[in-house]
Symmetry: C2
Subunit: 417 residues, 2 copies
């Protein structure tokens, strides 16, 4: 894409009321627009990142048997009363609204109740199990204070998968697969090296749940990590019993601040009992379905990545989720060079490489600063000066490493690895 065509622009300053680093950076770089505290719209660059993350999640969920649905946001009271989560005294982050006839409705902040209700129509026998519907949807959460940018929005975009199994054994098999799928997601979005599978409290049906915790100073959670075994424990269950349980009685733990970027739960029959979701087993006996939940916040991931993969100059997108792989920059008054750069832009596009071409009428200072702020993995500077230095200047955003490559060799440079 030509940058002159992009309707957004970078900004020197984020709004004065924006206190989170992730939202400040994403606003300044033109990825998001803040409409009010905790509510952000995605601009074209933000849509590209979000869609690429959603694509990765879809691939990984489909690979373990997930089937995508789009559940409604509007929630009817009855199904939430059955699980005792309707009352504002129990659930303090509802957004509620009502129909013209006064019927109260809620805006979904999670989908256990609605999915159980939906699956009533499709589960009656053990032959219908297991089943793994998942949603990638906008959700709503009435946060009292919203000060963490995209990491805790009042309106957010997430994936929620629910597993429906015959029994604990069938559940566990999928649960283990999901751990691998989640690890794949974190690796592909570029924060695998900072993200730890963490033991957390399990609720009524399992001793533990598991969280995916990404190390960040901006995090609101605390984990204790044993680097030797790679095992992490959430502060809330970090005690001698748990350490012993995990065979880590004498391990040396490091305390770390983290962002919870995903979680998986064994729900047992916590929702299928009140929702009366039963199936007939092979012997013809009725049983409650065994459920699990598997969440990952897409907008939260964007926020977390902006927190942990950035520097004082701006964002540093990992290749698989960057809006563009290459930011091609040219400046100076030499029209031939501009034309050559433009023709390299077309060649790169034709070779199937996502490239943003800064064809704007602006000076080197602004163009180079914008490229750093916007954070594409590779910057190519194509100028008179770079040619004098041996070609175009290719800089890796992550490391700052620079090399000069003959313009005619640029495509091979990127396609031949």
């Amino acid at each position: 894409m030509k940058q002159s065509q992009l309707f957004t622009k970078t900004r020197k300053e984020a709004p004065a009321d924006e206190v989170s680093k992730n939202a400040q950076l994403l606003i300044r770089a033109g990825y998001i627009h803040k409409t009010m505290a905790g509510v952000y719209s995605l601009l074209p660059l933000g849509v590209k990142v979000s869609e690429k993350i959603a694509y990765i999640i879809r691939e990984e969920m489909n690979a373990i048997g997930g089937q995508e649905t789009q559940s409604a946001a509007l929630q009817k009271k009855e199904i939430w009363e059955a699980t005792n989560r309707w009352s504002d005294k129990v659930t303090d982050n509802w957004f509620k609204t009502e129909l013209k006839n006064g019927t109260e409705l809620g805006l979904a902040f999670t989908h256990e109740e609605a999915t159980v209700d939906m699956m009533q129509g499709y589960i009656s026998s053990y032959k219908d199990l297991p089943a793994y519907p998942y949603d990638i949807r906008t959700m709503f959460r009435n946060e009292k204070r919203a000060k963490s940018g995209l990491m805790r929005g009042r309106e957010f975009f997430w994936k929620a998968l629910y597993s429906f199994s015959e029994n604990k054994e069938q559940h566990d098999e999928f649960y283990e697969k999901s751990k691998i799928a989640y690890a794949n997601v974190f690796n592909r979005v570029g924060i695998g090296h900072l993200t730890y599978l963490t033991f957390a409290s399990g609720g009524s049906f399992a001793k533990y749940s598991h969280e995916f915790q990404t190390i960040s100073e901006a995090g609101e959670d605390i984990i204790y990590l044993d680097e030797k075994s790679g095992t992490a424990i959430n502060k809330e269950v970090f005690n001698d019993e748990v350490k012993k349980d995990l065979g880590l009685k004498d391990a040396e733990f490091t305390e770390l601040k983290t962002i919870e970027t995903g979680n998986i739960f064994d729900l047992g029959t916590k929702f299928s009992e009140p929702g009366n979701l039963k199936f007939k087993d092979e012997d013809g006996n009725e049983q409650f379905v065994h459920m699990g939940s598997y969440g990952i916040g897409i907008s939260r991931l964007i926020g977390a990545i902006a927190e942990v993969l950035s520097d004082d100059k701006g964002l540093i997108w990992p290749e698989e989720i960057a809006p563009f792989t290459i930011h091609l920059v040219t400046f100076g008054k030499n029209e031939n060079i501009f034309r050559d750069a433009e023709s390299l832009y077309h060649d790169l596009k034709n070779a199937g490489i996502d490239v943003l071409f800064d064809d704007r009428d602006a000076g080197p200072g602004q163009k180079l600063a914008d490229a750093d702020l916007m954070g594409m993995p590779y910057r190519i500077v194509y100028t008179e000066r770079s040619l004098e230095n041996g070609g175009v200047e290719i800089t890796k955003r992550e490391t700052g490493e620079t090399e000069y490559v003959d313009p005619a060799r640029v495509i091979a440079h990127f396609t031949e690895g």
Copy 2:
């Protein structure tokens, strides 16, 4: 995909309270789940149709310069008060909610105000124009009664593009392009032959707006069509002055019931004035931005297509938006035939063809009825009997035309046109 893996099933009956044909068919065929009147969740087959329609719309909008955004659903009061659309007395279909501190919020039913607010950050000079942001989002509309299925939901999925232009001339140029893009969309989703560009009332800034009206007995609109010129006029402006205006004083008009499946409006400065969205023109004078709006309901399209492309047996999906191109069906006790059918399934998949393989343990009656109900464009029956008749039986859902093709020739049959 193997049908035994799909967690949804067809049903003999739709819910008793469902009165619309489109929702009845889509529920029975396993495309949607009704959560309450006017609120439907999409099941995996429905997601596939919706995504394919969204893909087509994206392609057509991008082709005329559109840039995708994802605007927030939560709306702040101030921007709607500025346009005098906040009050429930003026706008009778709001869903409203509030923050913990009592601040009132609305749920978006359209995006003019929010988009003007967003573009404040990006439009200041004529050099920033034109710009064409668009959303493909879930919207909310508090319908007093909801009885038209997906055609008028309380929660719906749509595309809204807004054009921002320097003046009427620049606006008109895009407006004309949008007509072609819309015609492309209607052709590609398979209802172009039933859909007419229709003159409708224009509001303060243009004599006419244009609607895309699809002929259907289930429609709530009435148009008058002059088949000779292909010109249609909405009943609301069907009078002698308009007929004369369009050079159709003596034309013979047919009255038709229709569904409004899209519309385009010249908004002039109706929203940029109250939103104070200005730009400096080439002479340095401040001017209000000239806007246009271009809507198309994706969930409404799914409903309309289910209404007009269906028969008493079920749905009839056009090829470009069908969840699968081929429904491959086998039955009988011959295990070799099952294995051969399964291997054809794999071959078709490997050839890049979307195929649903009915591998369920069920009888011919149910399998054939389900294939008709679910409505894939082509049904292939692979049985002992079909082989006796000369191969596999390929039936076109739309026409019922049947031919027998050597199993070894099936892929060529589909890929060589």
